[in-house]
Each structure stands twice: as structure tokens, then as C-alpha cells.
Amino acid sequence: MKYRREASLIVLVGALSFLATLFDASFVPANAIDILINSIPTMIISCGVMLVIITGEIDISVGSLLGLLAATLALLSSTAEPGLGIHPYLAIAIVLTVGTLIGLGTGCLVVYGRVPSIIATLGLLIALDGAQDWLMGGGDIKHFPQELRYLGTGTTIPINLILTILVVAGTGLLCHKTALGRRIYAVGSNPSAARLAGISVTTTKLFVFALTGMLTAIAAILWVAKLGNVSTSTGAGLELKVVTCVVVGGVSIRGGRGRILGVVLAVILITMIRTVLNFMDLGSEAVKWQRAIEGVMILVAVTSDHFTQRNQPGGKS
């Protein structure tokens, strides 16, 4: 069963939708688009982190990076104090560049510095969070130019959703239709063999880290465009959500395996849990347990595979 994981995720998404429909008959039509839109930052970054995990590395700095980039964008483009009010397109270009460069820097630490990626990105997670707070200084930044907000709130055409679909489709094509994608899988599957096959492991890893940086920048831009507000807490905790989505989506934490479809479904699933719980009449007491319920559901999602596969013989690791 090649698409076993995807199938079970679809079943789960269906089950949750059905559950919510019991409480509100029009749940699906009323919320489908909004759930997708709300999942955008997670979705876009998950595409990058998925590739990183497929190469056998991990990036847990994306939450802080998103925060830092959002703060940078805000400072550059906001029309009120303390923003510089430079043209939004220029600001976007700068943020994309900065994001890519930081991603590349992370890659260099991992590839040339040979710092284990989980440690390098843990250090960055802490340090970039501090840098974000440092940049933000005074308080929330609002007052963004209309060109920028339009990316997130253009009512008739959800530009951000279209962009996200492009990113997801691009990642899918990259994975399955290009030589580079093949090499990403090969590097994660067997690094030494990849080297012998003439693949540059170094370049491949640098590429996925830089790409993740750039995707994080795109997510940061869309985040600002959507919410119109940047604070010191922007992006906090996003990295864990992203990693959760990627692994629930069936990407092997050991590298080499995983498909974009599973990740997309997992992002939708994890984003919709909140909305479904909001639509169920949990009552004022139960709502306090919302985070615990989410936690249990994620634990179940992460471990369920192992429970079902346990009895199969000869499971080689």
C-alpha cells in the first residue's frame, strides 16, 4: 500500500469534517477555504522543512526565522513609526534575500561546520528569537501599505492561496519531476552512495536549507499581509507545528522518504483541529483542555502507524 498514509489522513480529515458537520450542517462549505487560508504559513514552510527532513537533516529554526523576517518586513515597509516606509516591493525583495541568506547560512553551519542540524537550528531558534525581540523593541507594528496587505486580503481572488498552491505544486514537481528532487531523496536515503553516484551532497543540502529560508520569507510576507500586525510573539512555536505536520504527513524522520501530498493533508488536518473544536460546543470548561486534546490527537497520529505495523515480521530499521 504505497499511499497508505495519505489514505488514512484523508479518512481522518473526513472524519473530523463529519464530526463538525454534526454540529453545523454547513461546516465544510463555510470553512473549507478559510481553513486552507489559515494553514498558509504552516503549509509553505512545511514544503521546505519536508525537503530538509528528506535529506536527513532537520530545521527547527523556522518559527524564529519567520518572526525575524516578519519584523524586518514590518520595519522596512510600515508607514507609521518606527517603520521606514520604503516601497513594499523593495521590502519584499529584501526580506526574500535575507531569508534565503539566513537559510544558506544555516546550511553552511550544517554542511561545512558539521554541526548536527538539530543543534545548529536549535541555536538559531534561540538566537533569532532574541534578534526578533531586539528588532521589534517598542511594540506591535501595523500600518502596512495597501499593496502589501492586498497579498493577504484581496477579497475576490485569494492571492495568498494561489501563491501557496504554486509553492506546493512547485515542491511536488521538484520532488518527482526533476533530477534535483531525485537527488534530494538519494542524499537522504544513502549519503555515501549518493556521493559515489556523483551527487554533491553539500550542494543539495545547501539548496534545501536555502530554499527553506526563502519559503519562510514568503510565509512571513503572507503572514504580515494577512494579519496586518507584527509582534514579538509572531512565529513563536511555529517550528514545532511544522515539524509535527511533516512527520504526521508520513515523511521519515530518518530521511529519504515522504511525499508532498501527505504533508499537505497533515497541515490541513492539524489546522482544522482548531476550527473543528471551535465549532463543537465544548462548553466553557472543556475549552480549557483544547491544547491537551490537540496534543493527544497529535500523539495518536504520530504513533498510530507503529501500533498497526508492529506485528509484521522482519521489520528492518
Binding site: L173, H176, K177, T178, A179, R182, R183, Y185, A186, G188, S189, N190, S192, A193, A194, R195, L196, A197, G198, I199, S252, G256, R257, P313, G314, K316
Partner: protein, 505 residues
């Protein structure tokens, strides 16, 4: 076969050292077009390093390599490929998560307008599989293939390119006799079509059958390059080790064998792996299990040792039945196992020789719940002497030992528990001739002292010389039993092949 005097590849004065150890020193060698050139030598003699230099994986410190008179730039995989050199490396270069087509084309995908051209790749894959006469599903991840099938994929990968020199580093190490035969046939076919082959193997039979010339390495130096027809087996071994080795002789009588049943296995069954496995091993007896790779031998060994679970059946050691799926219980009952994969299952490479050797006897060397270093050292020294492990000292990392010495350490760590029943799964794979002989001697000695031994091996001469009795497995079942003293290779092979195929051959 046309022999032009002009060599395809000329290697001159290649030297390479790793951290002070001279792996290759001033090696000169040439390979003629259309010849199969054998490369022999004990482990650590420098064969693999030479291959890596040729393949562009490592760059030699001095010397030149020329292909058709044109110098090859060092350490450049792509230049090597462009020059028409293909390598099948010793360590597995399979990408287990990728499917067959993806594996074949990794690193040199066929593209059309920048996108992968899947159809063209599938077409070429089918063509090459046809040429190799193997049928494998193109879209199954390699994880689901057997070791031998993976080896075939590697062959196919090398054949895919129009290479002029194919380097094969112990390609048959994990292949069964039948698969080896297919492979040798294929090499001959390549030779016919004018491809040169550099063939590395420990199996002298293959060298003799296949090669035109043989080059022997010892301690990083080239000893001699000799046409095969001017060399006999013992001379070859002599060149390799620098001294004479007593060739293996078949066990003449069942010395020390008793009627006391050590291990009895009845009706062992594991879904999808093996069924109906029943046999007994007596104290002082060596039971050999032959069969093709993938016949289920390793799986049986693992099940007995408790490494895998099984669905039905019973294992008794000295009459007491053994708990299922627990290695600790097996060890307590006196079972020891030298596993198939030395690097991953047998040894902990980054740990010292001493720590590896004492891993199985931790409770024994513990006093007041603390490890007693005096006891540990004493035990380790004793084992190292007994097995003649060649290591500078016991604190050396196991990774720094040669393959043969590593295998001795694995054996040693099990001898430490004084096992009643020893299971050996491919005990001499990738082990040089001298170490192999020592390991064989040791197995016999121990068995004669009253141990029961079960040996699984793809190496037919080893199976025939060591075993008192031979059972042959085929497709997860025991196909038949032979007497060790009289069995022949043909008898074993006949039992090893599935019925339908046996008729064909």
C-alpha cells in the same frame, strides 16, 4: 580476444596514505582493453584504495592515471564517468527508499526540457534488465528487494553506461552460487564486447575461472602481475600472504561428536520467511546449512537467537524450551551468534576492542555492581591471545581493525560466554584468506571441545569442508540433508534450487 599492446588504463606511481598509514605506495599497473584483470590481496592490502582512486572518490597524493593516453584528473567522479569508468562498490550503494528506475539513473537522470523523462528512463531500464536477463519490477522500492536482487540492480546501473572499464569490488560476496554464476556469465559477456573489467574477489575459484591476468597486492604494494595460466592456486595464496597456508581439508572423522542433543528445533514457522524447519544439533557436531541467498537461512538463525519472532514451533536447548523472541533468554540458555552483518550487527565500530569483547560478559566482570577493570583487562587479554587478534592494543577502536580481525573480535566476544550452541551466519564473508583459515581452525577446535555449531554460509567450499552434516534450504524450507563427508557441490546446488528451476539447469 584481441590483445592490442596499447593499454586502456595506465596507472603510474600512485601513492595514498590515510593519517600516516600508507595505503598505497608507488603502484604501477596497466589494464588492457577487453581483459578481465583480477585483483587479489588480503583485506587492507590496498585494493579498495586503488579502486577509489580509479573511481575518483579519493585523490592520490602522487602519480598519474591515464586513460587512452589522456591523463585523468584526480578525485573527480564526473571525469571518471566521462572517461568510461564504472564502479560497483563493495559497500552497498543502493538507495533503499528509491525504486528501481530511480536507482538506475541516480546522478545522471535523463531529462527533457529540464524535466525528468520518466518514459525514456523506463525504456532504458527495461533494455538493460533484458540484457542482464533479470526480471524485476521497475517501481518497487529497493527496500523490498533481496540483497542479491539489489546487487543485480547495481550491475545494471554499471552496465547502463557504455563503459570501457568496469570495476567490480567483491561483487559476489553476498551472492549465492547460482547468482554468482549468472554474474560471471555476464562479466564474460562484457569481455566479449570489448569492455575491460577490474575484478576484485577473495574467491580464488572465480579469479581462476574469469581472469586473464591477476595482480596481487600486499601491504599497499603491488607484488606481481601474472597471467593466470602461469599461476596455480597455492602460488597465488603465497603471493597474497607472503607465506604458505595450509589449505582447508575436509573434516575426516567426526572427532568429539557425541549423541547428546544440544539444540533441537521442531516445526519452526514464520509467516513469509520460512516454515517446517526441524533439525537437531548434537554436542561436538557442526551442522551446515546451505542454500541460495534469500532461502531463509539468516531468518532461521535470527529466530533461534531470538532476534526475530516466529509464529510457530519450538526451540529446545538441552531439553529446556526457549523463550520466543528474546536475545537475553537465548544467551542465558548458552546460545551465541555471529551475525551476518559484521559492521552493523556484530561490532560496535566506534567502541574499543576491549569494550566490544566485554560487551557480552558485563555481569561477569562486575563486582559490587561496578565494572572491575582488572577483571575486564584479564578477560580481554585472554581472548585476544586465544584468537590472535592483531591490534596494537585493546583500547584501539574496532573500526580501525581489518575485516578479518574484526570478525575475530566478534567471535571472541561470543567465546567469552562459553557458548553451548554457536550459530555462525556467513562467518567469513569479506575476510582474507589467512584470517579465514584461523577462524575455521577455531570453529573446529571449539566444536571438538563439545560445543554444538550451526553454520550458514554461501561459500560452498566452506560449507563442505566444515560441516559434519549439511542441510540445504530452499524457499524457506529444508530441501534435504547430506552427509558432510561425502557431499559434493552439485548435490548441494541441486537441493538449493527450486524444483522448476532445477529442471531448467
Amino acid at each position: 580476444m584481441s590483445r592490442t599492446s596499447k593499454p586502456l588504463i595506465t596507472i603510474e606511481n600512485i601513492s595514498k596514505s590515510y593519517g600516516g598509514v600508507q595505503a598505497l605506495s608507488k603502484v604501477c599497473l596497466n589494464i588492457l582493453p577487453g581483459e578481465v584483470h583480477g585483483l587479489c590481496g588480503e583485506n587492507g592490502a590496498g585494493k579498495s584504495t586503488l579502486i577509489k582512486c580509479l573511481a575518483g572518490v579519493v585523490s592520490p597524493e602522487t602519480g598519474t592515471i591515464t586513460v587512452d593516453g589522456k591523463p585523468l584528473s584526480h578525485g573527480d567522479i564526473h571525469a571518471t564517468e566521462a572517461a568510461g569508468i564504472a564502479v560497483i562498490h563493495q559497500e552497498s550503494t543502493a538507495f533503499l527508499d528509491l525504486d528501481l528506475v530511480e536507482n538506475l539513473f541516480v546522478g545522471r537522470e535523463i531529462k527533457k526540457y529540464g524535466w525528468l523523462n520518466r518514459r525514456a528512463m523506463e525504456r532504458q531500464a527495461l533494455a538493460v534488465m533484458h540484457r542482464l536477463d533479470v526480471t524485476l519490477d521497475l517501481h518497487t522500492p529497493l527496500r523490498e528487494f533481496s540483497i542479491a536482487q539489489r546487487q543485480m540492480v547495481e550491475m545494471a546501473r554499471a552496465c547502463l553506461r557504455d563503459c570501457r572499464l568496469l570495476i567490480m569490488d567483491e561483487p559476489t560476496a553476498s551472492l549465492s552460487a547460482r547468482e554468482t554464476k549468472t554474474l560471471l556469465g555476464l562479466v564474460k559477456q562484457l569481455r566479449e564486447s570489448g569492455v575491460s573489467v577490474l575484478y576484485v574477489s577473495h574467491r580464488l575459484e572465480e579469479i581462476a575461472e574469469l581472469c586473464d591476468r591477476v595482480t596481487v597486492f600486499r601491504d599497499g604494494r603491488l607484488v606481481a602481475t601474472t597471467p593466470i595460466d602461469q599461476l596455480d592456486r597455492n602460488q597465488l595464496i603465497g603471493q597474497m600472504v607472503g607465506r604458505e597456508i595450509n589449505a582447508l581439508t575436509r573434516r575426516e572423522e567426526h572427532a568429539g561428536q557425541t549423541d547428546e542433543v544440544r539444540a533441537s528445533i521442531t516445526g519452526l514457522y514464520s509467516r513469509g520467511s520460512f516454515s517446517d524447519i526441524s533439525f537437531e544439533v548434537r554436542a561436538g557436531e557442526i551442522l551446515g546449512i546451505g542454500g541460495l541467498v534469500g532461502a531463509g537461512r539468516s531468518e532461521v538463525a535470527r529466530a533461534i537467537f531470538g532476534a526475530d519472532r516466529y509464529d510457530q514451533g519450538e526451540i529446545k536447548i538441552d531439553g529446556a524450551s526457549l523463550k520466543k523472541g528474546s536475545i537475553q533468554a537465548a544467551i542465558e540458555a548458552g546460545i551465541a551468534m555471529v551475525p551476518e552483518d559484521r559492521q552493523h550487527q556484530g561490532l560496535i565500530l566506534p567502541m574499543s576492542v576491549s569494550e566490544n569483547l566485554s560487551l557480552t560478559i558485563l555481569t561477569e566482570i562486575t563486582r559490587h555492581r561496578l565494572i572491575h577493570h582488572g577483571h575486564e583487562t584479564a578477560q580481554v587479554q585472554h581472548l585476544m591471545r586465544r584468537l590472535a587478534v592483531k591490534a596494537a592494543n585493546a583500547k584501539m577502536e574496532a573500526a580501525s581493525l581489518s575485516g578479518g580481525n574484526q570478525q575475530k573480535v566478534v567471535l571472541g566476544k561470543w567465546l567469552a560466554i562459553k557458548p553451548k550452541f554457536l550459530i555462525l551466519d556467513e562467518p567469513t564473508r569479506g575476510v582474507d584468506v589467512a584470517a579465514k583459515a584461523e577462524i575455521h581452525r577455531l570453529i573446529r577446535e571449539l566444536t571438538e571441545a563439545g560445543m554444538a555449531t550451526l553454520i550458514m554460509t554461501s561459500d560452498l567450499p566452506e560449507l563442505l569442508t566444515l560441516s559434519d552434516r549439511i542441510q540445504v534450504m530452499c524457499e524457506g524450507r529444508i530441501a534435504g540433508q547430506l552427509d558432510g563427508a561425502t557431499a559434493t557441490e552439485e548435490q548441494v546446488m541441486r537441493l538449493a534450487f527450486p524444483r522448476s528451476e532445477a529442471q531448467l539447469t
